[in-house]
């Protein structure tokens, strides 16, 4: 599982949450690093903040789609149009921050099941 979140505190909190659920998490703080990793590896899924300083969400989505890696975006209430566009273009989901932790975990379980099964 790859996590891309520029905010250090949120990144740490999400990493802990996911690791406590038994996921192996590689946490990054920028989109460029994710794109590099996607050239070499195929993670089960990517959880990514929609507003990254270095990469547009649609670029990140495209990089994931090329590798057929499911991606879930996290973002803010003001980004409705961006959420709509990303899901239309193939993102698994777009969760509005703050979201119930259970929602993200359930979503990732579903993605993992789909991926494995």
């Amino acid at each position: 599982m790859m996590l891309v979140e520029p905010d250090k505190d949120v990144r740490l909190a999400l990493t802990t949450l996911l690791e406590n659920q038994g996921w192996q998490v590689a946490a990054l703080d920028n989109g460029e690093a994710l794109e590099k990793i996607l050239k070499e590896a195929t993670p089960l899924a990517v959880v990514c903040e929609a507003s990254l300083p270095d990469k547009s969400a649609s670029n990140v989505l495209e990089a994931c789609r090329r590798r057929q890696v499911p991606i879930v975006f996290l973002g803010h209430q003001t980004e409705v149009q961006s959420a709509v566009d990303l899901v239309r273009m193939g993102a698994e989901d777009f969760l509005e921050k703050p979201f119930p932790q259970a929602r993200l975990l359930k979503l990732l379980d579903r993605i993992a099941q789909k991926h494995v099964g």
């Binding site: 409705v80 149009q81 959420a83 709509v84 899901v87 239309r88 989901d93 777009f94 509005e96």
Partner: protein, 204 residues
Amino acid sequence: MSERAHVCIIDDDEAVREALRVLLFAEGYQSCQFASADEFLALESEPEVDVILLDIRMPGMDGMELHKELIARKSKIPVIFITGHGDIPLAVAAIQRGAFDFLTKPFENGELMEKIDAAIQRYRETREALEELEELQGRYSSLTARETDVMMKIIAGYSNKKVANTLNISPRTVEIHRSRVMEKMGADSVAVLVRMAGALGIES
């Protein structure tokens, strides 16, 4: 747009309906308006429109419920949701369910028109693809049982001789069946026939 496109507006706010009607008229589109989901569903048959602009919040059945109902009725008309309240979970759910797009008020007229044009374009393509598929299904169902057997073997890559052996008929008979299959299906090569079989969901 080459033909005058027809847009359906479903919104409980009369001022919004009127503003959209005027905008669409000015852009050269026809439109019809409904003040509620129930009013729309009361129609005897689905109206021949190219796109539906649907308000989410309406008294009675709301836009999301109406969208679900349209899906249950196997409607293929693209739906663009229009809402005054940007709500990500709602918007994402609508898109995941198959809505064409989702627009939050206030929006620029140009933005709406772009989405309408994109929806109309996709709907036309969908209809054309469906018509082609129906025509293909018609051709396929005109094959006799024996011709269908022969077609299956052809798309599996069998030679005439091998088809003849497998089906226990003479190579000459296979040739006749084969040419009838190609003629009835309108395929001028095996490659085209294989593509047709793929479109029809037929496995050799």
